[in-house]
């Protein structure tokens, strides 16, 4: 199934969880925040949160800024 992650298309196995996506992107253990379709998904829910076709995922982190 197709999902959009930070504006780019990604192909995932059907019924992948958010935790699967984080692992696929090699981001496990990083300090992140994730939105799916503009709703925040709390970190503890990544394993149980199932992604669906055409979901829009935003993954953010902290960088330098003023």
């Amino acid at each position: 199934m197709k999902v959009t992650v930070n504006g780019k298309n990604h192909e995932l196995k059907p019924r992948s969880s958010l935790a699967d996506l984080v692992q696929l992107l090699d981001l496990q253990g990083k300090r992140l925040a994730i939105e799916v379709n503009q709703e925040i998904v709390p970190r503890g829910q990544y394993p149980s949160f199932e992604l669906a076709e055409l979901d829009h995922v935003e993954i953010v982190h902290a960088i330098g800024g003023g």
């Binding site: 935003e58 902290a62 330098g64």
Partner: protein, 273 residues
């Protein structure tokens, strides 16, 4: 301060109380941004030299598939050591600013102190004041402690305070311009009207600008480019720390009245001529 100055009867000369924001006390009145540095190591050294305890950070998309082992900002600016102040830089609508704050809260495990800025124009980076008021209201209702970037309009500053912002942060000049305190009388009026901390945010270019803002009675200063874009950022960070302290002490001391003509410092009596 290791050795505070004392008066003749050995009491400290400055009876300053620490800066208090959202119920937490801070000993440094200099707040710094973490952007525009050449490296994370430079960020770390300049931040340490500034003595700042509150550090702003930006929230951005994670680069997917690029340098997974690259050190992250939060390894250098640790939330255990500093109070992080996530900002909404780059947001041009109230909705985007609110969304960014909610992501920041999730990212930082429920941390609710944020710097709200809703920009109105790319050339000036002046705030969109109506959108700022709108976003502040939503965020405060949602439980955020809002430190808000605004223009130097005393009426809007008061309105943001009345909404429940924990600090109001008027610009001294456009963000990143280094033009210094362009409208000291407005800053002074904002300070005099306020019962929350007023911090100059944006526009400071060098140490004397920081001292001027503090001499006006500001509770503190937030700056980024003045340090990061200096030829020697670490040395400028140290200069800013001293300027903020010096300006604060001068404000507390109370400056002499200005006089148009001279007044001799040495006695006239006893002259040999």
């Amino acid at each position: 301060m290791a050795h505070p100055a004392t008066s003749l009867d050995n009491t400290p000369v400055s009876a300053d109380s620490p800066l208090m924001i959202a119920g937490k006390t801070y000993h440094s009145r200099l707040l710094v941004g973490s952007g525009k540095y050449k490296s994370l190591e430079e960020t770390r050294l300049a931040t340490e030299a500034s003595g700042a305890e509150i550090i702003t950070v930006a929230i951005r998309r994670t680069n997917i598939g690029q340098n997974p082992d690259e050190p992250s900002l939060l390894e250098v600016i640790s939330p255990d050591k500093y109070t992080l102040l996530p900002n909404t830089a780059g947001c041009y609508t109230a909705e985007d600013a609110v969304r960014t704050c909610r992501l920041a809260r999730e990212l930082l495990d429920g941390h609710d102190l944020i710097k709200l800025e809703v920009l109105g124009d790319e050339k000036t980076l002046f705030p969109d004041v109506t959108a700022t008021l709108e976003a502040a209201e939503v965020l405060i209702k949602d439980g955020f402690q809002v430190m808000v970037y605004t223009n130097d309009d005393p009426l809007i500053a008061k309105r943001l305070e009345d909404l429940g912002c924990v600090a109001v942060m008027p610009l001294a000049a456009p963000i990143g311009s280094g033009l210094g305190i362009r409208n000291p009388y407005n800053i002074l009026t904002i300070v005099e009207n306020a019962s929350v901390p007023i911090l100059v945010d944006a526009g400071v270019g060098t140490a004397s600008d920081a001292a001027i803002a503090m001499e006006l009675g500001c509770a503190g200063i937030l700056m980024n480019t003045a340090i990061a874009a200096a030829q020697n950022p670490v040395l400028m960070a140290s200069a800013m720390k001293k300027a903020v302290e010096a300006g604060r002490e001068a404000f507390l001391a109370g400056r002499m009245p200005r006089k148009r003509f001279a007044s001799a410092s040495s006695p006239i009596d006893g002259l040999i001529i």
